[in-house]
Assembly symmetry: C2
Homo-oligomer: 296 residues x 2
């Protein structure tokens, strides 16, 4: 039996990343192009996988999206701000030219699965992965299953306890203003407060203390809500200095309440380069759905 090839489609809000990997989830081919209209974008995807055939593929997409495998609209983009994609069905579109096994979940779930199989949580039975970039999202895995009863999670829109030095900031979430994590801790909130993007903001700027407070609160809430073995942060806003601040504030917020392992091991930053966690996660999910289909 020849070695299998697995495909990854990472459908982001601004760009698509397509990749092919082998059974060790090594990236063999990759193609990056901007997210345009659905027809044109999917033509790029089709051309890539016709040139580089795979046995199974997995899609990690922006949302909201129907990820319920038993749903008649499994794979459809729901009420996304990207109007042209509303109602577009990834699974159906891919099946027009691909006859192998296909899996679909959210982009952050794909990254979480990558961390779980090959990344920071590869030794753990459970983990949470949090991305902090233009938005805040998180995926949760327990015993090889995604947590999420009827649909994908929206953890970034959980409500927060405001930092006392940050009461005056009105927040940037179009739905919740400054009441949710995304409204006060995603990248755009840093720029809204300071006029400087997070990447360029000096490490000693006081906004980092506020940012660390909110991410520590998020980590604490994730601990009390899911009791994961590990919490992994990734995304454009995250750096190791920030994670160290998060650990310190986590201890203050927890106030000795819940028992946790050493924080250096419990709260970590992603070790994948170039956000490859989603690609590797998709390879692993493609392999999983192929095995399941073969057993069915």
């Amino acid at each position: 039996m020849s070695e299998k090839r697995f495909g990854s489609i990472e459908a982001g809000g601004t760009k698509f990343v397509c990749a092919v990997g082998n059974e060790k989830f090594k990236i063999l081919e990759t193609s990056i192009f901007p997210t345009g209209e659905p027809d044109k974008t999917m033509a790029h995807v089709k051309a890539f996988f016709e040139k580089h055939p795979v046995d199974a593929l997995s899609i990690g997409t922006f949302g909201p999206v129907d990820i319920d495998q038993s749903s008649s609209t499994y794979g459809a983009i729901l009420a996304s701000p990207k109007k042209a994609w509303q109602g577009f069905n990834f699974i159906q579109a891919v099946k027009e030219w691909f006859s192998g096994s296909v899996f679909l979940t959210t982009d952050v779930n794909s990254s979480t699965y990558g961390e779980y199989t090959m990344g920071g949580a590869k030794e753990d039975a459970s983990c949470v992965y949090v991305t902090v970039g233009t938005g805040i999202g998180a995926g949760v895995i327990q015993n090889n299953q995604f947590v999420g009863g009827t649909t994908h999670l929206e953890i970034g829109h959980g409500f927060i306890h405001r930092h006392e030095a940050d009461f005056d900031f009105s927040g940037v979430c179009p739905y919740h203003g400054g009441s949710c994590f995304e409204g006060v801790a995603a990248g755009p909130s840093i720029e809204a407060r300071t006029g400087i993007s997070g990447e360029n903001l000096p490490q000693d700027h006081p906004v980092w203390t506020i940012e660390a407070y909110y991410l520590a609160q998020l980590a604490y809430d994730l601990r009390v809500n899911f009791a994961p073995a590990k919490i992994i942060f990734g995304g454009g806003v995250i750096n190791e200095e920030l994670i160290e601040k998060v650990r310190i504030q986590f201890e203050e917020i927890n106030a000795g309440y819940v028992v946790v392992p050493s924080l250096n091991e419990f709260i970590v930053s992603s070790t994948f380069e170039d956000n490859a966690s989603a690609t590797v996660g998709n390879f692993a999910l493609a392999q999983k759905v192929l095995n399941e289909d073969n057993q069915a």
Copy 2:
């Protein structure tokens, strides 16, 4: 094969409830006695089940407790404020006189399982059960499995967004003051604000608006964190008028963000009388562990 009998031990902070049920989870015998020292209390438990034999039993206990079935200390009470019970191991204690299958989880998980099998969520593949009484706790079930990676959840200690009319209240959580749900929304917080217990506080008292805001925020956070098919509230503080206020404030907090079913069906109060959800849940968990042991 004769009909099986299942046992329930509900180990609460102030009282124990022991019960025997049949295969339809009907309560046949019950005994209630105060929670005293471990030896004396467990002698009552032993006497009850010697008089009313069962094939398997399940324990739902106050915590914190080791609920990891693969742990060498599975069943042990951890750093509980009830000093006499610290280190006490329920599983070991019960196995001294009972040779059948034994399961153990938290009391709120037992109630959640009761709601899932015979209560408000019996038609659903996932649910959250929240108890609001002297404390706040919640259990989460998805596809017949409890959510909880390494240990049980502590959702009542999640951090909250304060109601603007409640900024001056310092809260009652010994760990988190007024920063967590338990600190500002459990029964003792109502009495701390008003001098009147929740059960006796008139329905038009303004504190109920604050209470409903916090429980609506909790319901919203549970929705974004777990996406359950249903959220069920129980415990001494809950009544139908309050739940209706919670639904109204849930809509305001959500601000149209996450899609939910009709709130009358999504956020409900428990229909079990006398908190029997934990007893029924234990019967179902006892049956489950018996089946698993028979298959092993």
